[in-house]
Symmetry: C2
Subunit: 216 residues, 2 copies
């Protein structure tokens, strides 16, 4: 987390720093990005940087968290607006989300960085996702999601593991986007890939006659 000093900063300076950081992270991977460039971009002395952040990662995670908040808001909005049951809602949401991420003109390459995050970072972001709260505007956690989707009829085999399941499906969505990005698929192709996989999860891949073996 950024140090208090960073939050005490006048808004202009804080925004300048964020802009400078995003410029750097937009064209370079987390590893290739350098603090030297960021402070040069934002006209801030090197020493000051270390007064605001622990290191490069600290700043990076902070930015990731900011964007994650937006994604998450999009998700809740989708569920609220969509008609039909959970599966249809999630399908719609997924398609929207993919479009949003892959065509976002505002964040540009920064999204790519997001998609290229290594698993460690990804996990860290997902943990952050669990307890996201930006300036007091808290978003519901996993259990609250369940409540929301249940109002449209969540037709699951079991209620157990439902939070884990939702987390898994969100991972599925993110991973599909990553895969689409990596394979240079178009938005439509990526959406199709996601829908296909969501159907795998929803209906299973085994042929209907195939039965789960009784536990011994």
């Amino acid at each position: 987390m950024p140090k208090q000093t960073f939050f005490n900063l006048p808004e202009e300076k804080r925004k300048r720093l964020i802009a400078g950081a995003m410029k750097e992270f937009s064209s370079r991977s987390l590893n290739d990005a350098s603090i030297s460039n960021i402070v040069k971009n934002s006209n801030i002395s090197r020493g000051s940087f270390y007064q605001y952040f622990e290191d490069k990662n600290d700043l990076y995670f902070y930015l990731i968290g900011k964007f994650h908040y937006n994604y998450r808001r999009l998700m809740f909005k989708s569920f609220e607006e969509e008609e039909g049951d959970f599966f249809k809602g999630y399908k719609k949401f997924g398609e929207k989300y993919i479009l949003y991420i892959m065509e976002s003109p505002k964040f540009g390459f920064f999204e790519n960085m997001y998609l290229h995050m290594n698993y460690q970072i990804n996990q860290q972001a997902r943990v952050g996702f669990e307890k996201t709260s930006v300036k007091g505007k808290k978003l519901p956690n996993g259990k609250r999601i369940v409540d929301i989707v249940k109002k449209d009829g969540l037709k699951l085999k079991t209620d157990k593991d439902v939070v884990d399941l939702l987390r898994y499906i969100l991972g599925l969505l993110n991973d599909t986007i990553m895969e689409g990005f990596w394979k240079e698929l178009s938005v439509e192709e990526t959406q199709k890939l996601f829908v296909k996989r969501l159907e795998w999860i929803t209906f299973g891949i085994a042929e209907p006659t195939y039965k789960k073996e009784e536990k011994v």
Copy 2:
């Protein structure tokens, strides 16, 4: 890929270099690992290193590929040995694989590095996986896997996308291991998590009465 020069090297020197590199990658992340340490570890001049490899990543991917070959061999062996259908075979294989990776005393921390690879590297490794061939010993590709598992009866809803599906399930397995590692789960817990997710994929998560909507 390492340069030809590397493969022309006398075995002793090549092994020395690999050992030195593994020592470094075992205790440091890819980013933190340094060529300086590797050449120090293996008593090789800095200049020589660049005669063998493009850079640090080049060496790293080469090592990853070597280990991946072993994993893959384990997979085929499992399918050949296991009784029952594809799903049971895959379940067994997954459990074995998890045990193998999480308890491997030989590679130790190097496995951790493998698990922490970022997605980009992961993808690169998976692409390599598609066409793995070590010293002429080729392993079957996705289609061949299908043939192998089919002999035990592959009870899928469709034959279409079967290669994609297999790739996806392998990803599921790897991701579960990563998640287990990250959440500091035991081998047993990780195996359970994997089995649960494999069942999601196999049988679906929707309750049986839930029907796929007719296409409009």
